[in-house]
């Protein structure tokens, strides 16, 4: 049986209304406005509500997706959640909890993927292959990784950076963007530079910065060569929004002008949600025919993919 090509059809986003001003933390954390605005690039970090758990954030992202696509829960054949901050201790898996809260059919497959900032790119490959292998035509890939659960409010390395958000990507055979190539990477031996220790996030900012600045441009260059493309062939480079500084450093080291969107000022680094949040903004625009996405972070783990526009408007839903 011919496998139907699966791609990105629509994206829903949930951003909590609660947020904290980084500028108000200047004195507490001994930072200045220039650092906040021009280096971290985050004026506000969003925080999930006290009565919200990871699964609830997914449900709210799904509501936005459903509004944009007329998708109903009973249509889903596959439901995947990318998170490393699940509901409770992770048993049951958060995707199963979401499945229950949405009222999906028993035949709907549900599983979690434990990845952070590289998670959306990895998950696109995994879920797409899973769906195509099993002749599925409608699945939803969620990203929801509320780091507010593990942040130290006095650690300026992390508390100024990370924000909570969730996304829901409809993967279907009637898509707008289709992945054409992927590249993956892992440095497990260096994982301790970004880890959860005793329930608190600990990050060596310099080591994570160096890893990202060195490995991401190399992987992007390799992926372009593998696809016989040059950087001129890419309309948009959508980087994981680690910080304004790292996105600009990657851009500079690749020697590319423009085409590197920044979207973190109003909510922070939302981990695996940062890439799909930008994709939602450009999903329906014809100006972006070829997009390169790249996620990098905890693991250490990194992954990049090239997406091609298949159509500007979906025929169904």
């Amino acid at each position: 049986m011919l496998e139907q090509e699966i791609g990105i059809a629509e994206i829903g986003v949930y951003i909590p209304t609660r947020r904290e001003s980084n500028h108000e933390k200047r004195e507490l954390l001994d930072v200045d406005d220039n650092f906040i605005d021009n280096k971290v690039g985050v004026a506000y970090v969003t925080r999930k509500l006290d009565d919200e758990d990871t699964s609830d954030m997914c449900v709210k992202a799904f509501r936005d997706l459903a509004f944009r696509s007329n998708l109903a829960p009973e249509m889903l054949e596959c439901l995947v959640v990318v998170t490393q901050n699940p509901d409770g201790n992770g048993l049951p898996h958060t995707s199963a909890i979401v499945h229950g809260k949405l009222g999906c059919r028993p035949e709907c497959a549900a599983f979690d993927i434990s990845l952070g900032c590289s998670g959306y790119v990895y998950a696109l490959s995994i879920v797409r292959a899973f769906m195509m292998q099993n002749s599925m035509t409608r699945g939803v890939l969620f990203t929801a990784d509320p780091y507010s659960k593990i942040l130290d409010p006095l650690d300026r390395t992390t508390v100024l950076l990370f924000g909570d958000a969730a996304t829901a990507t409809l993967l279907s055979s009637d898509s707008l963007l289709a992945p054409v190539a992927f590249a993956f990477g892992t440095y497990g031996r260096d994982g301790s530079v970004l880890m959860c220790d005793g329930g608190v996030l600990k990050m060596n900012g310099r080591d994570v910065f160096n890893f990202s600045a060195r490995e991401v441009p190399k992987q992007i260059t390799h992926l372009l060569q593998k696809c016989s493309l040059s950087s001129d062939d890419i309309d948009l480079f959508v980087m994981h929004q680690g910080s304004r500084s790292i996105v600009e450093t990657i851009q500079r080291r690749l020697g590319i002008d423009g085409r590197f969107p920044l979207r973190l000022q109003e909510h922070g680094n939302t981990v695996s949600s940062s890439i799909p949040m930008i994709l939602q903004d450009i999903l329906h625009g014809s100006a972006t025919g070829t997009i390169l996405i790249s996620g990098f972070g905890v693991g250490l783990s990194w992954a990049s993919a090239i997406l091609r526009r298949t159509q500007t408007q979906r025929s169904s839903m």
Binding site: D32, N34, R206, A213, S245
Partner: protein
Amino acid sequence: MINTSNVREALKKSGVSIDFDTLPEHASFQDHELDSMDMMNVFLEIEEAFGVKIPDDDIAQLDSIQSIISYLQENS
């Protein structure tokens, strides 16, 4: 080769908005408002240009072009 000119060339690649061609060798980076993320870019370029790994514990002492030159000469 470790000299002022080569160190300045490496520093210029860091993308930091300071004129490394004219910055005096003993001028403090901190006094010229380079922050921690600027310094990450600075040390990344120095490490790559001169093939050294600068441990976190050594960072604090490297606050000028001259201190970087001395460090590289001692540790290359």
